[in-house]
Symmetry: C2
């Protein structure tokens, strides 16, 4: 999991907001997904690849339910203290992309935990697609088993199997994930406490469902980030959209726009440019606040008397450099399976009602469920179930509910991240702990530690490690006390 | 829910143990289920019947998933304090039978709680069958959605709908059930803590899955009950089986057996008699320990020099009286839908490995999963998933797991009940409380209070009521403290 691969969350959103045909599905038969990981069984001496015979449908007993598919997972034995000492197991729960058997937080801390590291790929991504890859994305008969509850049950089955195989039944197990993976980690701890003793959920917008979080919250944070960088920058960007539209509506306007923004291809409509700018603004807000400041310096710092479009282009150049052409949509497009996969997930159950409010960086656009549902029907043939996530996982009145139920979850967030608006930002109890950083971005704490990391990030990670050590210590005390029946 | 209707648990078991063709499915097209409750919307001024448009498959998004069926539930408004005062809601979670809108424990205590009473019928029982009644029991394509996880999600959807409709979102809600319904109540609290603040699980054999409980435990308790009544009685019964077989193998033996046991029809094989006796022994052990004593007095008290069969018949007469013929299987047969429905549930996910050990009242018969699975395949076309219950709900090392997770569950058991061997008999934490009574039977505490109830039963119920009042009080304190975000 890295920043680039996390962009999908942003991207699906992006397409939703600015284009009419929000989730274009044009998954032609000829295309092939390029996988990063070779389908080999041993990556190196310590890092092994496995395929588990997973059941398609854990929750039903119709004939199709019994279909078996190969689910991939990776195990890194390098640091493990072994089953005899009930050494811990850290598990990265796969999210909406091909799994890579590496997570900064886990690999950095494995030695201190003497932990086995496990990475399980999410169904319908990477090499864990139940149907012949292209088939799976074709219609609801094959896509219909693609959801979080089934994925959590997959993880449960794999982990029980793995513990049995290693005779590590008594090893404490911690699940870890970021963004959607962080939601999965939280939900796994809540639904499968008999398998995971705790969860680290980084930047998980658990409360961005139904009406728990105001629908404009995401874009309000984007606006806050840019305002914090520079109020004038915020105002310039806000006024730029009409400027772009105005120029585009002139004779040869699109050609002039293409030239002024050095676009990689001649623009056919102003939306192409607007989508591109939109992407830059929200991706930097989500992942990289220092880039927000760079952009704003570029916008604010344009030569005296510059018009608005020159300022905006100045921001783009400050961010990208002047050597590359722009409106290069490929740069931000996630891999296809993530694009279509997460699109499906949003259209079926992960219905996050994100709209743009009046004081945002962008023209207002309220979330409209009716048109959202119509688009989902068109793109995937599926009718969204907007209340399922809160029905199954909860979310409303979360402190009232969880204060006296559940334990051992860390909700980490960076408040620069627009998704933090849907995160758990306050402690729910002594062991349901919120760790927020004022300047943090999306799932930063899971990235590999780096000597240039700011102190608050080092500190956040240290707290996470300490808390998890505390859970494990407590577990061993309980184990020694013979609570085994 | 009453004792007679709870017999199914016993009965499916009974057929399993003694007959070869353990779960005969002969659900012919012509048969009609007789329902006790009229399909009317208003039973009386306070007790209303509703039908909720329930989704067939909560966990998938294939086209069939979206099928809607009518799920019945009842609401008794008589005692409710109302939404304005956030008065409590007590919910009886339907189990493997048609729902009757009455439960002793709930109706007896409704006034003290000022509670709304809700009774939700379990899918595939009563009037809540998703397919045209006879269709549903035909094959796995229609039966396949019949399981506990779907049922719990049904309850969640109904209860959220009900709370919204009544604007009673902040009313504390307690779920209650006995036997399988007690398992459902526990699991509902564990999986849906955002809907139920607590659960009363009476006689729920939550640990009778996988290898958590020794497979002979059920029948070991039956033996213990009879031994406790009389050691000689226990021995007489143990030796009677070969006596019956011996006589049956003689010329005209079956005719003599029929005569000596006053059977309602001429016996065709000794198994008919043995099944009948078996049923009496285990049903009394499960539901009515004083009847165990009556039977044993009949057996022990036979005239000096009586042979073994006369003693056994003496026990039958002591229990049934001498006016009725015996081997009247109808008397114990549960309603058809319960028989076939629970048979399906046992064959798909509720795989309780119950075998007969060496020191039981009956000839030893270990549980054999292979033959069990073959029979299920034959009867229902389904392959059991014996590890699913523990995968999804847990059970192993339950104290280690739940000591620091979850809260507010009462596990009540009567130790005379053979199913108590799979129950939670010790506190797991301060609010996960085991209430066992030495002389209690299966789900007795949920029966209507009666002036002849023994003090220990009165006491058990009082403790339950007090604990639940405690949960509700604590909830109101939290609510008043403003834990509402």
């Amino acid at each position: 999991m890295n920043k680039t691969s996390l962009l999908h969350l942003l991207f699906i959103l992006c397409f939703f907001v600015t284009t009419t045909n929000s989730l274009p599905i044009s998954y032609s038969k000829g295309k092939t997904i390029k996988y990063k990981n070779p389908r080999t069984l041993d990556l190196d001496e310590n890092l092994r690849t496995y395929f588990y015979d997973q059941i398609l449908d854990h929750f039903d007993y119709v004939p199709e339910s019994y279909t078996i598919f190969k689910q991939r997972y990776f195990v890194n034995f390098k640091y493990w203290g072994g089953a005899n000492s009930s050494a811990p197991i850290l598990v990265c729960l796969g999210d909406e992309q091909e799994m890579e058997p590496y997570l900064g937080f886990m690999d950095d801390n494995a030695a201190s935990f003497q932990a086995l590291l496990v990475y399980i790929e999410h169904r319908y991504y990477g090499r864990s697609v139940p149907f012949e890859s292209m088939e799976a994305y074709k219609n609801t008969s094959t896509l219909g088993y693609f959801n979080s509850a089934q994925a959590l049950a997959d993880y449960a089955a794999v982990l029980i199997h793995l513990k049995d195989t290693l005779q590590a039944q008594m090893s404490p197990l911690i699940v870890i994930g970021g963004s959607y993976g962080g939601m999965l980690a939280t939900w796994f701890r809540l639904k499968y406490p008999h398998i995971a003793i705790g969860a680290l959920a980084s930047s998980a917008p658990l409360l961005y469902f139904d009406k728990i979080t105001p629908q404009t919250a995401y874009f309000d944070v984007v606006a806050r980030d840019f305002k914090a960088a520079s109020k004038s920058c915020y105002k310039f960007i806000r006024s730029s959209w009409s400027g772009i539209d105005h120029l585009a509506s002139q004779p040869s306007g699109l050609s002039m726009l293409s030239k002024r923004f050095n676009s990689c291809y001649p623009l056919e409509k102003s939306d192409e440019l607007k989508d591109y700018l939109f992407s830059i603004y929200i991706s930097t807000a989500q992942y990289n606040y220092s880039a927000v400041m760079v952009i704003c310096e570029g916008i604010d710092g344009a030569a005296f008397g510059s018009d608005i479009l020159s300022r905006i282009y100045g921001g783009v150049v400050a961010y990208h450099g002047s050597n590359t052409c722009t409106v290069n949509s490929d740069k931000y497009t996630p891999v296809e399976e993530t694009f279509y996969g997460w699109g499906w997930q949003r259209c079926s159950e992960m219905v996050m009602p994100i709209g743009i409010g009046k004081s945002s960086l962008f023209p207002p656009k309220p979330f409209n469920f009716t048109s959202f549902a119509a688009q989902c029907k068109k793109d995937y043939g599926v009718s969204p179930r907007p209340h399922w996530v809160t029905t199954y996982y909860g979310g409303q009145n979360i402190k009232l509910v969880l204060k006296r139920f559940a334990s051992n979850i860390i909700f980490s967030n960076g408040l620069r991240d627009p998704y933090s608006s849907g995160g758990v930002l306050n402690n729910l109890s002594d062991s349901l702990i919120a760790l927020s950083t004022v300047n943090g971005s999306h799932a930063m704490d899971l990235d590999p530690a780096n000597e240039n990391d700011p102190e608050w990030l080092v500190d956040q990670r240290k707290k996470e490690v300490d808390i998890i050590h505390g859970w494990i210590t407590e577990y061993y005390v309980d184990l020694a006390a013979g609570l085994l029946w």
